[in-house]
Each structure stands twice: as structure tokens, then as C-alpha cells.
């Protein structure tokens, strides 16, 4: 009996919608970061080849190097954002719904 009620509850529906909204937003951010980088490589090599450190004191390091590292760091940060949200918001909602199942 309780199972049916929880299945039909607005709380469960909201939880599912929220889970996929956050997942898809983070996936979109990941796509922008990675495919943005790939398209930059394909379409504007000059930008990535620009040397860091101003015209006078330019070293050999190109802008492309920190950008490639940034893509990896951003990917990890997005993962961490999802885990932080899920460990708090999502898991709390899950616990509440599970409690309703037992009542």
C-alpha cells in the first residue's frame, strides 16, 4: 500500500526531476568545456599557440598548456559538485522517502 503512495507522491517526482536537471546541467557544462577546447584546437590554433607573459618577457609556455590542464581540472570539479549535491540534498530526500515506505 505504502509503496503505491510513495510512487505517486510529488516528492518522488520532484526528486527524479531534480536529479536529471542537475545531471544534465553538469553534462552540458562538461560538453562546453571539452568540445569548446576541441573546437578551439580545430578552429583557432593561433590562440592556443600564444605565449604567456606579455610581449617583452614572453616565455616558451603557450596558452594551450594551462587550458588543457584546466579542462581536466574542470572535469574533476564538476564531478565534485555533483557528489557534494548528491551526498547532501539527494541522499536526504531518499532517506525521507524510504522512511515513508516503512511507516
Amino acid at each position: 500500500m505504502r509503496t503505491r503512495q510513495v510512487l505517486d507522491s510529488p516528492e518522488l517526482r520532484r526528486l527524479v526531476v531534480r536529479r536529471w536537471t542537475i545531471s544534465l546541467l553538469l553534462t552540458a557544462a562538461l560538453f562546453v568545456a571539452y568540445y569548446g577546447f576541441i573546437l578551439l584546437v580545430a578552429l583557432d590554433k593561433g590562440l592556443l599557440a600564444r605565449r604567456l607573459g606579455g610581449a617583452e618577457s614572453a616565455g616558451a609556455t603557450t596558452l594551450g598548456i594551462p587550458i588543457a590542464v584546466a579542462v581536466i581540472v574542470v572535469a574533476w570539479v564538476l564531478t565534485a559538485i555533483y557528489v557534494a549535491w548528491a551526498n547532501r540534498g539527494y541522499d536526504r530526500a531518499v532517506d525521507q522517502l524510504k522512511k515513508q515506505l516503512e511507516d
Binding site: 553538469l26 574533476w76 564538476l78
Partner: protein, 515 residues
């Protein structure tokens, strides 16, 4: 140019010593694991007792192949910045894996990803189709690994190719046959720790030579090989080609059976989630520092010396290790590379065996009714079949250029396995026919298109131009698989599957009733 004298290619005492030490430790682990491997749950899923940190390391050990370690270091050493572009592609699938499939997969499945696809659909047809997609992925990936291992071990230890392939095959088979997932997990953890340690040491030694400043290292690279070494070169020319390869690398991860299988080794969805965060951290760290090893090899060993030993640059990291840390460190790095290959092939074999035994034998041949003892017995024999097959494929493809097979494995995973897995999780109207049609379309189209692509048609078969322009077909084959899955599903209704979709929400999202 620095001197090119090297002990690489000879079985030195230190290389053999480190390797035997690794084998001894991992076989001791296997002996320990074998006594804990009695049920199917233990054989396939390590009794679901692996912690998130352990699984994060094991995922890293399952994923980071010799191609990542030796291959990317070599690519950066010889081609410069292009190698860094390639390295980013190997990481970006991990967040997507977490956002889209990891938790529902853990909640719905038991041992394989086919459990999830078949959850509310008709078992036999879906299991067979999923097993075809899964086994094709694993076979191509395994062939690339075995041929690579034969070549690399021959280069590093100087032992004949066939012997190298046979050693990898038999040691790996011992792990999986006796110790199942428990032994495989701990072999992968050991390998991940050794690999991260080895690459960290190499990186620190390189940076110490350049006053702890990456900028000084880059300046030295630019001095030797021109500024072009630090700029994007010829790797990415056509945007469509680049995006297609990017899709295969990113979403292919979401369809790799040996990776997906690891999520069943943790107790629940929350642990699955945390293990991805750990894995992404370890793998991301690895891909951030491995270019420094590559650039360091270019500056300190020299491109000529690296290319003279292996045209592909695979020996960049070992040569650098020898120059910075002597024969002893070279021995350590060579043994780490060997361990890397063993751990990846063990994971692949277990995944291939589970598709044969759990999906095909237990669920199709026996209709889902097989007792624990029978399941474990069949799983072990399937392991032997796969292990022998891996060695045969390695010997059969000796001397062939199989680098494209890794790209092919990712393309099949992304086109055949991933769309059906995702649609079965998120779409109520997905039907048995839709799933089967989607998986088969993805698998067949990928193989056909890659044969017609420049990768095989021109590079391997020697034709002038290729009928299909893209080097990696993922953007076409994955889109087609998704479209076919949707259209075929819409052509007919499967009421039982739709009803179960509602009921399974408690399991998908709350983990109620999960294994």
C-alpha cells in the same frame, strides 16, 4: 644530444626482479582471494564489499592502460602539445559516467550492464544483443592490449613476442580463474598505486632538473625542437573528425563492460558515486602530470634516441627513467608497465567471461535458473575460454597495426552499449525490439564504417581514398543507434515494460530492492 646507451631490451636483474616481486605479491593476493570466492556474487562482484576509495583506485587501475602510460608519454615526447590534447579526451568520460549512468546502473543491475538493459524487457533477445555488443567491445580492446603487451615486453625485456603474450595470458588467467573479482580488484589497486607512484617519481625527477619550474622545461623543449612543440599541430584538423573521436572517447567509457562491472563491487549507489570522484581524481592527476614526463623525455633523452628504439615513442618513459634513475629505476618502470597490462587484461577477461556465463549461459540457455555452484563453475570456464582467446588473438595479430582497435572498441561501446543502457534507464517507452535493434545497429554500423574509413581503408588496406570520410565513426553510428532505438520502440508498445518502469523507480532512485 645525450648518449643513447641503454640496457633497455635486455632482461636485467632489476627489471626481472621487480616483475617477479609483483607477480609473487599478486599471486599471494590471488591465493587469499580464492578462498573467499565461492558464490557468484563473490566471483563477479567481490561480494559487494569494496570501499569507495578502493574501487576508485581499482577503476583507475582498470582504465589506465599501457597505451595511456607509455603511449601518451611517447606522443608528447615526439609530437609535443598534440599529446596533451589527446590526454584530455581520456579523462572527460568520467564525469559523464557519474552524471548519466553510475548510480542507476548500481541500483538496477547485478553483475553486468546487460542486467540493466534487460531489467524490464524480454530477457533472451536483449541479453543476446547486449552480450554481442559487450563481447565485441571487450575482444577488440583485448586484442589491442595483447598485441601491445607482446611488443612492449619484447622491447623492454627482450623476450620473444609469443612468450610475452603467453606470460601475460597465463598470469592474468590465474588471477581471474582462481580469485575472480576479489583478486582482480586488488591486482588493479596494486597496479594503480605503483603506476601513480612511478609517474610521480618520474615527474619530480624531471622537474628537479629544471629548477622545479615547468616553464624552464618548456623553454628547453622549445630550444631543442622549436616553439611548434608547444602548439597544436596536425592531430586535429577537421572539426567533425575531432568531435567524433571526442564523443567515442567520452561516451564510450559509459559502455565499457569492464568499467561498468566494477560498480557492482561496492555496497550501494552512494559508494558507487564516491568511487567515481576518487577515480576521476587519480586519473585526472595522472593525465595532468604525464605530459611533463613526455616533455622531459624530449628534452633530456631526445626525440632521435626515443624514435630510434620505437617509432611510436613508447619507450620515452622507460628511457627517461633510465637516464634519471639508472638501471634500477628503469627496472621498476618496466615492471610497472608489465603490471599495468596485466591488470587491464584481467578486468577485460572477467567482463568478457561474465557476458558469456551470466548473460548468455545463465539467462538465455538456463532461463535464469542456475544454482550458485553451477554459476561459478560456468564463470570459471568462460574465463578460460576468454583467456585462451586473448592469447590466440595476440599471436594472430602479431606485427599488425592494431592501434585503431582501441578507437574501435570505444566506438562500439559508445554506439552499441551506451544508447541502449541510457534509454533503458530514462525512457518508459523503450521496448525489447527497440533495444535489440539499437544495439545491433550500433555494433554493425561501427564496424562497417571503420572498415570504410581512412583508418582501415587507406592506412591498412592501402587504397587511395576512403568511402567514409571520418576516422572515427562514433558521431554517425551513435546517432543512428539512438534514432533506431527510439523509432523501433515507438512502432510498438510493450505494456509490461511500461508498467515496470514506474515500479522500478523505487529501485532506480532510492535503491530499494537493489542487490
Amino acid at each position: 644530444m645525450p648518449e643513447t646507451h641503454t640496457t633497455l631490451g635486455q632482461p636485467t636483474a632489476s627489471a626481472v626482479g621487480f616483475f617477479l616481486l609483483f607477480v609473487a605479491i599478486t599471486l599471494a593476493i590471488t591465493w587469499w582471494a580464492a578462498r573467499r570466492t565461492r558464490s557468484a556474487r563473490e566471483f563477479y562482484a567481490a561480494g559487494r564489499s569494496i570501499s569507495p576509495l578502493q574501487n576508485g583506485l581499482a577503476l583507475a587501475g582498470d582504465y589506465m592502460s599501457a597505451a595511456s602510460f607509455l603511449g601518451i608519454a611517447g606522443l608528447v615526447a615526439l609530437k609535443g602539445y598534440d599529446g596533451m590534447i589527446y590526454a584530455t579526451g581520456w579523462l572527460v568520460g568520467w564525469p559523464a559516467l557519474l552524471f548519466l549512468v553510475a548510480e542507476p546502473l548500481r541500483n538496477l543491475g547485478k553483475y553486468t550492464f546487460a542486467d540493466v538493459v534487460a531489467f524490464r524487457l524480454r530477457q533472451a533477445p536483449v541479453r543476446i544483443a547486449a552480450a554481442i555488443g559487450g563481447i565485441l567491445t571487450v575482444l577488440f580492446y583485448t586484442t589491442a592490449q595483447m598485441v601491445g603487451s607482446g611488443n612492449l615486453i619484447k622491447l623492454m625485456f627482450g623476450i620473444p613476442y609469443e612468450w610475452a603474450v603467453a606470460i601475460v595470458g597465463s598470469v592474468m588467467l590465474l588471477y581471474v580463474f582462481f580469485g575472480g573479482m576479489i583478486a582482480t580488484t586488488w591486482v588493479q589497486i596494486t597496479k594503480a598505486v605503483l603506476l601513480l607512484l612511478g609517474v610521480t617519481l618520474l615527474t619530480l625527477m624531471v622537474l628537479a632538473r629544471f629548477g622545479w619550474s615547468p616553464a624552464t622545461l618548456y623553454a628547453a623543449v622549445a630550444d631543442g625542437y622549436g616553439q611548434a612543440a608547444l602548439e597544436p599541430g596536425g592531430l586535429v584538423t577537421s572539426p567533425l573528425d575531432a568531435v567524433s573521436l571526442g564523443l567515442a572517447l567520452m561516451l564510450g567509457l559509459l559502455g565499457l563492460p569492464h568499467i561498468l562491472m566494477r560498480f557492482y563491487t561496492v555496497p550501494d549507489a552512494r559508494a558507487a558515486r564516491s568511487s567515481v570522484l576518487y577515480a576521476t581524481g587519480f586519473i585526472g592527476y595522472f593525465y595532468v602530470i604525464i605530459p611533463i614526463v613526455g616533455f622531459g623525455a624530449a628534452a633530456l633523452v631526445g626525440r632521435d634516441a626515443i624514435g630510434a628504439i620505437d617509432k611510436g615513442g613508447n619507450m620515452a618513459a622507460p628511457l627517461l627513467a633510465e637516464q634519471l634513475g639508472g638501471e634500477l629505476f628503469l627496472g621498476f618502470i618496466a615492471a610497472v608497465a608489465f603490471a599495468t597490462i596485466l591488470a587491464v587484461v584481467a578486468g577485460l577477461t572477467l567482463a568478457g567471461a561474465s557476458a558469456l556465463s551470466h548473460d548468455v549461459y545463465v539467462h538465455v540457455v538456463k532461463g535464469g535458473h542456475a544454482d550458485e555452484r553451477e554459476q561459478v563453475r560456468v564463470a570459471r570456464w568462460a574465463t578460460v575460454v576468454f583467456g585462451v582467446l586473448a592469447v590466440l588473438l595476440g599471436v594472430l595479430f602479431k606485427g599488425q597495426n592494431v592501434a585503431f582497435m582501441v578507437g574501435l572498441a570505444f566506438a562500439i561501446a559508445c554506439s552499441a552499449n551506451f544508447p541502449a543502457l541510457l534509454l533503458s534507464i530514462v525512457w518508459r517507452r523503450f521496448t525489447t525490439r527497440g533495444a535489440v535493434a539499437s544495439i545491433l545497429t550500433g555494433a554493425v554500423l561501427t564496424v562497417v564504417l571503420i572498415v570504410l574509413s581512412p583508418t582501415v581503408w587507406v592506412d591498412l588496406l592501402g587504397n587511395e581514398t576512403a568511402p567514409f570520410p571520418l576516422r572515427n565513426p562514433a558521431i554517425v553510428s551513435m546517432t543512428a543507434a539512438i534514432a533506431v532505438g527510439i523509432v523501433v520502440s515507438l512502432l510498438g508498445r510493450e505494456e509490461r515494460a511500461e508498467a515496470m518502469f514506474e515500479d522500478e523507480k523505487l529501485r532506480t532512485y532510492l535503491g530499494v530492492g537493489a542487490e
